[in-house]
């Protein structure tokens, strides 16, 4: 695992090199236009969030960029490689955590990571990868015995076997309890500090605010807003928006975390 921490680029300034460049991406299923002309750039070292309600086209967009789904029209270039032209080369350079992460039952975590290393044609150190996601003590366990948060962390470990330049996380914290979610946030920050560019989708706005340097908000297959979370909030307030009730100094989640602590609860 590369530990060379790259400096966090000045997010959204446009001066950092774009490692992902998406132009006018489109996908239709019969009459349904799932992705309708999506364009954006992701800077190297950035954590980029794609937000949107269900059916907005987040996952389809992600899958086209990852080379997992054919592109109808438009282009996506990752690390200088055109996805449509060479999806295999793109897959070599990226790590993917799928929304529904499943692995072969009956194989242990170490065996799975070893196998995934081979799928990328490289040897890996499974224990080091497991240490990165704090699953060392589960090395000889099977995936089905892991808790939800552990599964997601293992899924991220499996996406790191090829030391990817870009890491794609599709709803990494859906279904996790507040402790496990915060734990995963910490992991994502660590990965960003190590120089991985991260693209993630989420339904949780506080997660996007917490993690993302910039976010794209999608609806109906289009990007309807793209900026830093702070800029988007400022723009809204600038348009005269006021919350009906002013945010209190703490909310219920803060109460929950205060009462139950930050420690992870893994029901093993």
């Amino acid at each position: 695992m590369s530990t060379s921490a790259t400096a966090r680029p000045d997010a959204g300034s446009g001066q950092a090199t774009a490692i992902i460049s998406v132009r006018d991406l489109r996908k239709r299923y019969g009459d349904l236009v799932a992705v309708d002309g999506v364009s954006f750039d992701v800077a190297e070292g950035e954590v980029f969030g794609i937000l949107g309600p269900n059916g907005a086209g987040k996952t389809t967009t992600l899958e086209m960029i990852e080379g997992m789904r054919p592109i109808d029209s438009g282009t996506a270039v990752i690390d200088g490689v055109d996805v449509a032209a060479d999806p295999r080369e793109v897959k070599r350079r990226i790590g993917i955590q799928l929304q529904a992460s499943a692995f072969f039952d009956e194989l242990t975590l170490v065996e799975l990571l070893d196998l995934f290393g081979r799928l990328y044609g490289r040897g890996v150190d499974p224990m080091a990868l497991l240490a990165d996601v704090e699953l060392t003590e589960k090395a000889k366990s099977q995936v089905r015995t892991l808790s939800g948060g552990q599964k997601q962390r293992f899924s991220i470990a499996s996406a790191l076997v090829n030391q990817p330049r870009v890491l794609f996380l599709d709803e990494p914290t859906t279904g996790l309890d507040p402790q496990a979610r915060r734990h995963l946030w910490a992991l994502v920050r660590t990965l960003r500090d190590r120089g991985h560019t991260v693209v993630l989708t989420t339904h949780y706005m506080e997660e996007a605010e917490e993690l993302c340097d910039r976010v794209a908000i999608m609806d109906g297959g289009r990007i309807i807003a793209l900026d830093t979370p702070q800029a988007l909030v400022d723009q809204l307030i600038g348009r005269g928006f006021r919350k009906a009730r002013v945010e209190r100094l703490a909310n219920l989640e803060d109460v929950f975390i205060d009462l139950t602590g930050h420690d992870l609860r893994e029901d093993d």
Binding site: M68, I96, L98, A102, F103, F104, L119
Partner: protein
Amino acid sequence: MAVRIGLWWALFMASVKMFVRNRLALFFSLFLPLVIMLIFGVLNFEGSTSVSLGVVDEARTDASAALVDGLDEYDYLEITEGTRDDELAALEKGDRGFVLVIPSGYQSSPTGETGLVAYASSADPSQAQVGQGLLQQAVAGAMLSASPGSMPSVPALTPPVTFESVESRDLGYIDFLVPGIVGMTVMQLGLFGVAFGFVQLKRTGALRRLFATPTPPAYFLSAQVASRVVLGYLQVAIRVGIGIWFGLQMFGSWLVLAVIIGLALLIFLAMGFGIAGWAKNEDQAAPVANLVSLPMLFLSGVFFPREAMPDVLRSITGFMPLTYVNEALRGVMNEGAALVDLGPQLLGMGVWAVISFVVAVWLFKWE
């Protein structure tokens, strides 16, 4: 891109590991057939007291016809008529207890100078002894009733039939059962072992996770098929081993047996992947796999001879893939058939292999 043997081997071993660690699958593939053989081995389905008699009428006279009619009157004789070659072949295979040859120029003679020759199976000497007595009695009786009045009712001085022993096989029910079980095993492995395992990988998304890597899916698919083929041979070996313990005899070549099993695996693996490639989840795969396998399980002669079926059903089910497989397996194991002797069965299997493969490719979807 060069073929990566190491990667392929890793996928193959992973596939084997997954199978071996799945206790339920292991139970069904190892323990269940043992139970089936125990049940059928303990229950003896052979208990018939009749004598299976092949009659070769080379005389073709009224006298010979009368003799055959006379023999037909005896309920304990199960008479089959045929040519000398066919009947003697059947005797060698163990399908007949005796073959009675009525030579040309046969004349009914109460004094015993009939020229009648019966070939007896060497398989079961004690039963042959009883059978000889029964047959002598029946022939003498048949000759008397064929020409009533002309004969003095005195017993013949010499027995009318001369016996010759023919080297033949003593086939028990286990010899019938094991090839059937082997055929069934290969079918179940292909249809269920593959269909369910693969559909599960598809439904859970484990297969999609593989597509997120740069390795072409063909590696995984071929490693999966290869592991199933090896496991298939292993399961067959275990069943045959258990069979030998129960007294199974093997008259043919193991190599020919291996070739037939290989072809059978090809057919049923293609069917399994066709179902698995088409189905979205186990609930879709299960009824189809059952619909394909159940008729064959009962109508392809796995447990009982297909001769017992009504003619129409028998001719229709004769075209089922497992029927060809079972016939070929029995051919090599029970009769020592070589590949050239199994032309029709191999042709049938080949046609099914092609059909299954084409349909599987047509139906297959990765997601």
